[in-house]
């Protein structure tokens, strides 16, 4: 009988304790209710509807559509281009963050503000601007054409656009970490005889690595789904310079609903997986940050990420 005794607790009285810690501040019911309702109507139900629609396809049909040669070519370009762009941003982003935090030079303030431009500039504007800049008679395109390099309407163009839209992420995740990094660590390394390069690779790099990796992940995830800034510069040749989001639009224009649905659902699942991965990465690097050796103060390297994400 003793086993069942815990069941006699009045479930009605237990509810508020379990679901929500008691608070004297009013308004939880209204705010929470509205939040959940709005979220459900505008985001969750449409997303669920898309999955429901996709479930009309059989398992075999679904994968056949997802893995069709034209779709595969588009994944290679979207994921490959995003990877190259994110790697470029990893390297130049850490460099730019370093320069912006550590050095003083004229125009630094304006440059620092402009880093967020790819978030603030509408993608269509960025798209036509990049296409014009790199077209054979554009400012840079003309220059590069004399070297035999063609960017516009090639895969290089896709990479340039995907680098552009992911540019702020690494800078904005690494910058606050560098800013909060105590000079003491570098002084300690120097007093122990390390030269500048050893200090950078052994002391500084491990500290900024988790943040840089998070920025890399965010830039990659953003680039994979990008549409507006790419389609003007890409050339959009099927099998060659056609990104996955464009393929969805084309399928839709051709009234190939099942094809569009399958690829869209596939992209959605990848987005969710990447979101999960980035969240895990942030939790992990947040823990690394809290393992601050000296003062035990939890440092919060991702405060600025709200700004970074918010500025998309």
């Amino acid at each position: 009988m003793a086993v069942y005794s815990t069941r006699f607790i009045d479930p009605v009285n237990l509810m508020p304790l379990v679901l929500k810690r008691r608070s004297v501040i009013p308004g939880f019911g209204l705010a929470f209710g509205f939040t959940v309702l709005y979220l459900s109507l505008l985001v969750l139900i449409p997303l669920a509807a898309a999955f429901l629609k996709a479930s009309a396809l059989s398992w075999h049909e679904f994968w056949q559509l997802v893995l069709s040669p034209r779709a595969m070519a588009s994944y290679r370009l979207s994921f490959g281009g995003s990877l190259v762009g994110a790697i470029a941003n990893l390297f130049f982003g850490v460099l730019a963050a370093w320069v912006l935090v550590r050095y003083d030079f004229p125009g630094k303030g304006i440059l620092d503000s402009l880093v967020d431009l790819p978030f603030a500039l509408p993608t269509a504007v960025a798209g036509i601007s990049l296409a014009t800049l790199y077209s054979p008679n554009g400012w840079l395109g003309r220059l590069l054409a004399t070297l035999g390099v063609h960017i516009a309407y090639t895969r290089m163009g896709v990479i340039v656009a995907l680098t552009f839209i992911g540019l702020p992420f690494v800078v904005r995740t690494v910058q606050p970490v560098l800013q909060d990094l105590d000079r003491e660590f570098e002084e300690a390394a120097a007093s122990l005889g390390a030269n500048r390069w050893q200090t950078f690779t052994r002391v500084l790099l491990p500290s900024i690595f988790p943040a840089a990796l998070t920025g890399f992940g965010l830039a990659f995830a953003r680039a994979v789904g990008e549409y507006g800034s790419v389609i003007f510069i890409a050339g959009n040749m099927p099998m060659r310079t056609e990104i996955t989001p464009l393929l969805i639009v084309i399928k839709l224009q051709e009234y190939d609903y099942s094809g569009a649905t399958a690829i869209a659902i596939f992209m959605l699942m990848i987005s969710f997986a990447m979101l999960l991965g980035i969240n895990l990465l942030q939790t992990w690097s947040g823990r690394q940050g809290r393992a601050e050796s000296a003062r035990g103060e939890p440092s919060r390297p991702f405060e600025s990420l709200y700004v970074a994400e918010g500025g998309q």
Binding site: P46, K53, A124, V125, T132, W139, P245, L275
Partner: protein, 301 residues
């Protein structure tokens, strides 16, 4: 210590670079790093921005104004203002409610709710628009029912507004939440203990404390709402003068080789982006100054 660049180590004669070498980089390396970063950022930030304005004004101010005064352009501007005018206030109300519920209370499933609010950030804009097509389109779940009742959502203004709401959904909540959370509950509890009602507490205590974050969130939300392209493109149907927003109008005109007209409308959106960045810098500058004042008031310099 002064910033690294202006600091040149000991004034005593001799190798001052060698002396400072262990704590900072040599001047030449410093300038190489700055130069590389400047070239990268210029190519990717300054040049695209410059192209927009230079192309818009290529044929003079008359052609520029003609591009904007075009009836289709004007109707695109009107539709963009309408969509943002509906989406932004709705998302603002949502953001405030979400920040209140998530920032001031502890409950089970809170972190899941936060992740769900982030969802639209991680979805490709094209897919965002597409899920509304699957919901309300002709082939969609509610399509047949909507046709029977003569309601058009997809390839019409309501779809554009819905897609705009979806892609700008998290902005205000995401900006407000950390601020509201960081402020803690002390002031609200004090207000309640002094007899304030929920609304009074919110209006007089919480909102004033979070006003900068709210302003910034709304401005970001607005910039994205007016500039959204992929999601809106999928649901609009590109009907000139009817369902084209500014970004869609830019695409149509650009594909027509009317570059000046395309860049003229684009320059308006680029200006909006620049204003957004300026406001962001201003708010950050303000926050830094407030932090400095608070620190100076704390005694230790």
């Amino acid at each position: 210590m002064a910033t690294s660049l202006t600091w040149t180590g000991s004034k005593s004669s001799g190798p001052s670079f060698a002396a400072s070498g262990a704590l900072t980089e040599s001047a030449s390396l410093r300038w190489i790093l700055i130069g590389t970063a400047l070239v990268f950022l210029s190519v990717f930030l300054f040049l695209p921005l410059a192209v927009v304005f230079s192309s818009a004004l290529e044929r003079g101010i008359g052609a520029y104004l003609a591009g904007i005064r075009d009836p289709d352009a004007l109707s695109a501007i009107r539709l963009t203002l309408l969509a943002a005018g509906i989406a932004v206030p709705l998302n603002m109300v949502f953001g405030v409610a979400a920040a209140w519920a998530l920032g001031k209370f502890d409950f089970i499933g809170k972190s899941i709710l936060i992740s769900l609010i982030d969802l639209p950030f991680s979805v490709s804009p094209v897919v965002s628009g597409f899920i509304y097509v699957l919901m309300f389109g002709l082939q969609g779940l509610l399509g047949p029912w909507l046709i029977d009742h003569g309601i058009r959502i997809i390839f019409a203004v309501p779809g554009i507004i819905l897609a705009t709401i979806f892609v700008t959904f998290p902005f205000v909540a995401r900006e407000l939440l950390p601020t509201v959370q960081a402020q803690g509950n002390d002031e609200e509890e004090a207000a309640v203990s002094l007899g304030a009602s929920g609304w009074q507490t919110f209006w007089h205590v919480t909102l004033p404390n979070a006003r900068w974050a709210l302003i910034y969130g709304v401005i970001l939300c607005n910039a994205r709402a007016m500039g959204e392209f992929g999601a809106v493109s999928v649901v609009s149907g590109h009907i000139r003068g009817l369902t084209n927003t500014m970004p869609l109008h830019i695409e149509v005109v650009y594909d027509d080789y009317q570059f000046v007209a395309a860049f003229a409308v684009a320059s308006l959106l680029a200006l909006l982006g620049l204003v957004t960045l300026a406001v962001k810098s201003l708010i950050e500058w303000q926050a830094r100054r407030a932090a400095q004042i608070a620190q100076a008031g704390g005694g230790e310099p």
